[in-house]
């Protein structure tokens, strides 16, 4: 099978706001089903890879195979059609499917190197490995076995936010609002806590009011993109509300 990576790489292919990946995955239209898989894949491949690497202590190459194998199985065995939104969140279902898939692979030791006719997904695993190295440079940051569920959730949020930030970057470029994105980047993404609006205003020759307004606009758009992506991978409005609360409800 072939995955369309334009979405993964933020090619401006935003998910339909009200279209659920679950509904699309159950569609009779194969193109729609494939698109649903793309959406799901873009949201989950990073957390799944990191989860497999750490929870099952798999070396990078094996974790890459398992990650790709998992998504192929998800598609080929039509696992999404078995998901029941009444019983769990999609995120939990995906994680349990990963557990089941990896354990099954280990148990039967029948996993074959996927090659030949199998499709290798052109994913940037080395970059992801670099992320993982940066995250686990401190041994204490490696999650304990009982915290892998939290770890998966955290990585899922990180992946979703990273995609939404990329959406925002492209949106800003398209509208000539690079200055707003640059402010957002400087203050919300990479600043240390001592940076103030006044300092940003001074270094960029803006008024504090301009900084406030541009940041507020960028955050609003960021939230919109994050919500769009979230809505696309939630089965129901209720699940979307719960997940949105998880993303934005608990702070400050």
């Amino acid at each position: 099978m072939a995955f369309d990576h334009s979405f993964v790489s933020g090619g401006g292919n935003f998910p339909q706001t009200r279209c659920s990946v679950i509904a699309a995955a159950r569609s009779d239209d194969s193109a729609e089903r494939a698109n649903a898989m793309n959406v799901l894949f873009s949201a989950y491949w990073k957390p799944v890879y990191k989860y497999v690497r750490l929870k099952f202590s798999k070396p990078p190459e094996e974790a890459q195979d398992l990650t790709q194998g998992f998504f192929l199985e998800l598609f080929e065995r039509d696992l999404l059609s078995r998901f029941d939104a009444e019983k769990s969140r999609l995120r939990t279902y995906v994680r349990l499917c990963v557990d089941s898939f990896v354990l099954n692979e280990i148990k039967h030791a029948q996993r074959q190197k996927r090659g030949g006719n199998a499709v290798h997904l052109a994913l940037d695993f080395p970059a992801l490995e670099g992320e993982l190295d940066a995250q686990t440079i401190d041994p204490e940051s490696i999650p304990a076995p009982e915290h892998f569920e939290e770890f998966f959730e955290k990585e899922w949020i990180r992946s979703l936010f990273a995609s939404a930030v990329e959406d925002l970057r492209q949106f800003c470029e398209g509208r000539g609002k690079q200055a707003a994105f640059s402010l957002f980047e400087a203050y919300d993404l990479f600043a240390d806590e001592s940076v103030s609006y006044a300092q940003l205003a001074e270094t960029r020759g803006l008024s504090v009011g301009d900084v406030t307004n541009q940041l507020a606009w960028a955050r609003r758009e960021f939230r919109r993109f994050a919500q769009q992506r979230l809505r696309a991978i939630c089965a129901t409005d209720e699940e979307f509300s719960r997940e949105r609360k998880l993303l934005f409800g608990g702070n400050p």
Binding site: G10, F161, E166, D188, A216, E238, S241, L247, G249, N251
Partner: protein, 339 residues
């Protein structure tokens, strides 16, 4: 390829995403003030009236309609309760991001327990408590129970004003009597709109029987058991008793206050396990506190002869000393006069 976001960036994005969307409105967000059960309170600048206000914004919630209704209900309850001890509401509505909010007066002050660190004298504490009683009694007279009275929900403002805040769990009582104390069920003025509306439906839909809402340590036993439908003013009286007990606890910088038996009896009666053993109204509780302050007997305690003598001595100490001194002088004068 999307970039890697470290943990700090993710947290900042979560916080940024949670900020209320008030761009383009008359308000400019200033700072985070506090988090409550339903949402967050921010300080903001009202550009139209050029004043500082506080905005309470609902969290993104997973059961929006119920919490939305509760927040709006709180705003409407506050709007009905025009009283110096209750923070006035200026505005309410829905933000551009879909969350419900209301705007209220910005109050500078401190929680009552923090404030009491600098007000350790018993009479001063009791006078503050009487102000709380006045506010709660006023709400009861409008048919509204607070149901979450505790130190963090009482503020003392910069000019000494005592404010009862956070009416998010307020219950609107029915306006027809069904045997509970008259103060509990009668609403002197019919409440309008959704606040009162169909009062019984409103109340039961907002707080179903069996659902426990309140703060452990301050909520009455009947409230803790989720007997929402049977709550009356005595549930607030229980909380006031607990609050009174807290107020009397020694503060960080003070030695323990000596608590007279008659006074202990007051808060024990207020916080009695059984509602029937409590004061029937906040006014009755306040009356006992006032009597205690004035050195008069209180309804909650039967004093013996010695205690009565002590109380009378304390109350009339100055007069007794003056008369005694006068009599002593007179006696000396008479004695020496004869010689």
């Amino acid at each position: 390829m999307s970039r890697f976001l470290n943990d700090k960036a993710v947290e900042r994005l979560r916080s940024a995403g949670a900020l209320p969307e008030i761009l383009g409105s008359r308000y400019v967000l200033q700072e985070f003030l506090a988090r409550g059960g339903m949402g967050v309170v921010y300080a903001a600048q009202d550009n139209t009236l050029n004043r500082r206000v506080a905005i309470k914004v609902l969290d993104w919630s997973d059961s929006r309609s119920m919490l939305e209704e509760r927040l709006m209900r709180e705003a409407r309850v506050l709007a009905q309760l025009e009283h110096p001890g209750i923070v006035p509401v200026h505005d309410a509505g829905t933000l551009a991001d879909g969350r419900v909010f209301y705007v209220m007066k910005f109050v500078e002050g401190s929680r009552i327990d923090d404030f009491l660190n600098s007000a350790s004298a018993l009479p001063e504490r009791l006078r503050i408590f009487l102000r709380i009683c006045e506010t709660v009694s006023f709400a009861h007279s409008r048919g509204i129970l607070h149901r979450d009275l505790k130190p963090s929900n009482v503020m003392v403002g910069a000019f000494g004003e005592v404010l009862v805040i956070d009416w998010g769990l307020a219950k609107i009582l029915r306006s027809d009597s069904d045997g509970r104390s008259d103060e509990t069920v009668r609403s002197p003025e019919p409440l309008s709109g959704a606040v009162a509306g169909d009062s019984e439906t409103e109340t039961t839909s907002a707080t179903h029987d069996g659902i426990v809402l309140g703060t452990p340590g301050f909520m009455s036993p009947e409230q803790a058991q989720g007997r929402t439908a049977s709550l009356d003013v005595r549930t607030d009286i229980f909380s006031l008793g607990k609050l009174l007990e807290t107020i009397m606890k020694p503060t960080k910088n003070a030695t323990a206050l000596r608590v007279p038996r008659a006074f202990r009896a007051i808060f024990e009666k207020a916080a009695a396990e059984s509602p029937s053993d409590r004061y029937a109204s906040v006014a009755a509780l306040a009356e006992d506190i006032s009597r205690f302050l004035d050195g008069m007997p209180v309804s909650a305690y039967s004093e013996n002869l010695w205690e009565r003598t002590q109380r009378l001595y304390t109350r009339y100490q100055a007069a007794i000393l003056l008369i005694t001194a006068y009599l002593l002088m007179r006696a000396i004068f008479v004695l020496f006069g004869r010689h």
